[in-house]
Symmetry: C2
Subunit: 218 residues, 2 copies
């Protein structure tokens, strides 16, 4: 019984995800689903990306949180459009919520939509939102054993951002081990070592985003 | 339909939780359910607690992870009993899993069982495991906005450990704000500032654990 209900929920989600993906492709919008634990630095990465890319790409952000509009407010301060989804306790976003959030955006001339999922390394990985690319963020403060413990988030990602590289010197975090573990799960994973705080490595991420967005049009 | 199924799952969980709680009380076992995001330092806190308390309290640990036996292995190296539960992808532990895990422990002369829940600040808070006390861990690296964003974990906790205090100097983490936010949600919350890595503040946590365990017998 439980399994049947879950299948029904996932099937309904899949319908919305397919429709979202068609919409994004038809409108040349590069849509990213960003997944991580709470506090890995997703919003700071997006603030820095917004500032650096504002003359190059028209980006909008959809923020997912259980409660509060904090993150959408932070993004709006950079000048970008942002829509906040409050899940009121639910542990992940759904494709239907994304469909509704996109309706609230001015999508004329939009190049990129980044969905910042609920801070949770488990549940969001089961829900396709219709994104074109999935980005998993792991901060050095979380420890270097997370790929094996939470494999699904890494298996399904296209890009991995290892954030808070500036803290690594104060931690027992073996970057080479994490990259090895991640590539064991997902040999095609594109990995960037960054610090959104100090800007370390951020240019490579910006370049990748620019090229990936351009590639969509061809 | 979905709501009915959820109610059924939670009602079944509640039955096991009640039985667990009765068992713990009857046997004078102080049971703690420890909840946090991935990588907040729960296992390191337990390793340090195990080493410091080994002549004072007989502690056992039940480890919850999606996959791997890493954490139980770490605990066993300190000399404690540890049982690993692999949820195989599920985002939280259930009371039934705890009932079964307790059967695997030698409970003669046991004073404390610590359940290290799956690293997730959302889903575990909905599932009573039959614990006597709930401890939420927040690391300074996760940011100082987490109480408002994930209130349930803080509302339901008896104790909050603010871990990685040694990193706070490298971060924009306002400890006073976090304590204020947490107490706004839960005025009786007992808060300890600690660093499991440097031992900062750990003695206060050890003393609290010793006293709380003793109080159970009276």
């Amino acid at each position: 019984m439980k399994i049947k209900i879950e299948q029904k929920i996932l099937a309904k989600n899949e319908d919305y995800a397919l429709a979202n993906r068609k919409y994004f492709k038809r409108n040349n919008i590069f849509c990213i689903n960003m997944i991580s634990s709470p506090g890995s630095g997703k919003t700071t990465i997006l603030e820095q990306t917004a500032k650096a890319m504002k003359d190059k790409l028209n980006i909008a952000v959809i923020e997912g949180d259980l409660y509060t509009e904090f993150d959408a407010d932070r993004i709006r301060k950079t000048g970008l459009q942002a829509v906040q989804i409050e899940t009121k306790g639910a542990c992940h976003l759904t494709a239907e919520q994304i469909t509704k959030a996109v309706h609230k955006l001015d999508t004329a001339n939009l190049n990129v939509i980044v969905i910042e999922n609920v801070g949770n390394l488990v549940c969001p990985s089961d829900f396709d939102l219709g994104e074109l690319v999935r980005v998993v963020v792991l901060s050095t403060a979380e420890g270097d054993d997370k790929c094996a413990k939470y494999p699904k988030s890494f298996v399904q990602a296209d890009v991995m951002l290892i954030n808070k590289i500036d803290l690594a010197q104060h931690l027992d975090f073996n970057i080479a081990k994490v990259k090895r573990d991640a590539r064991k799960l997902n040999k095609d994973l594109k990995i960037f070592e960054i610090s959104a705080k100090t800007s370390y490595g951020m240019n490579k991420w910006f370049n990748w985003l620019t090229l990936a967005t351009k590639a969509l049009k061809h």
